[in-house]
């Protein structure tokens, strides 16, 4: 371990810490809804307040996102790797579940209390 190694470690820690703080500022409050996008386009926005099963069937494949107890989690995916099913449930603003093969991003949007975030209409599809 040399001096420059230590500098590098400190730099990475600072960068991670800075990004983390910035992320917290952007809102760690509990989110109001989950926005699902497929291939960069909004597929739908679903309230986290009511339990529901969201089926996301596209030409790329099948996914099932489940909302229970104010949290969303990917429970079904017919992609080859299935990493999205292993990702933690999401409830805080800007947390995401990503399914790369199916180009799906589920992101928590619109914290219940902050107004700086534009809250999209919450529709149960």
């Amino acid at each position: 371990m040399k001096k420059k190694d230590i500098i590098l470690i400190v730099l990475v820690l600072l960068l991670a810490g800075g990004l983390f703080l910035w992320r917290q500022m952007a809102g760690a409050k509990e989110g109001a809804a989950v926005r699902v996008t497929v291939n960069g386009e909004v597929y739908g926005v679903y309230s986290l307040l009511e339990p529901q099963d969201i089926v996301i069937d596209t030409e790329l494949g099948h996914n099932l996102l489940q909302i229970r107890d104010g949290k969303a989690v990917m429970v079904e995916a017919d992609c080859p790797d299935g990493y999205c099913r292993q990702q933690s449930s999401i409830r805080h603003n800007h947390q995401t579940i990503v399914c790369l093969p199916h180009k799906i991003v589920a992101e928590v949007v619109g914290s219940g209390t902050s107004t700086d975030e534009q809250i999209p209409d919450v529709v149960a599809k």
């Binding site: 371990m1 040399k2 001096k3 420059k4 190694d5 590098l8 470690i9 990475v12 820690l13 960068l15 991670a16 810490g17 990004l19 983390f20 992320r23 996008t37 291939n39 960069g40 080859p80 790797d81 990493y83 999205c84 292993q86 990702q87 933690s88 800007h94 947390q95 995401t96 579940i97 990503v98 790369l100 093969p101 180009k103 991003v105 992101e107």
Partner: protein
């Protein structure tokens, strides 16, 4: 590779062995039921071969081994897209590691950390491009720390292996 019969005869089996070893590492990693709950987070065991290679072989040879590993593993266990992600991470980490190696003053641990961190950053960038969404950057802090930890561990292990190899079977690499 000068086409020199004597050198080729030694080098080709060495490349093959290292590619095979890196592939085994990738496979073992895929088998491990470890989930960090974060997309793109990996142990990066195969990076061990790249780090060791950087200290025993020429950069071009390491690049060849690294790219061969990624493409072969992608065809065997992954899909077209997984090759793209791995290549982005693999190439970015290769460039940064050779760069840090050129700048004097970094130990293998520092070089390996740069590799681990940039590998994760590279994958994140491609993911953001493919998904057309910056949402994946939510996990950037976790991935940076993860790269730091795995990079440090791999750097320590690689350092020990290189020491032993230089002591014992140096002729393998000459």
């Amino acid at each position: 590779m000068k086409g020199d019969g004597e050198t080729m005869y030694k080098k080709v089996p060495l490349y093959a062995m290292l590619v095979a070893l890196a592939m085994i590492f990738s496979y073992v990693e895929a088998l491990l039921p470890i989930s960090f709950g974060v997309p793109g987070m990996k142990l990066g065991l195969a990076n061990l071969i790249v780090v060791i290679g950087l200290y025993l072989l020429k950069p071009g040879e390491v690049l060849l081994i690294s790219v061969l590993r990624i493409v072969l593993v992608g065809y065997l266990f992954g899909n077209g897209m997984s090759i793209v992600y791995s290549l982005a991470g693999g190439l970015l980490s290769f460039v940064l590691m050779t760069l840090l190696q050129k700048i004097k003053g970094f130990s293998m641990i520092g070089v390996s950390i740069a590799g681990g961190v940039s590998h994760n950053v590279g994958q994140l960038l491609v993911a953001a491009l493919v998904l057309e969404s910056g949402a994946v950057f939510y996990y950037a802090p976790v991935l940076l720390i993860a790269g730091l930890v795995t990079g440090t561990l791999i750097g320590i292990i690689a350092g020990r292996i290189v020491k032993e190899v230089k002591k014992g079977s140096r002729q393998l690499f000459d």
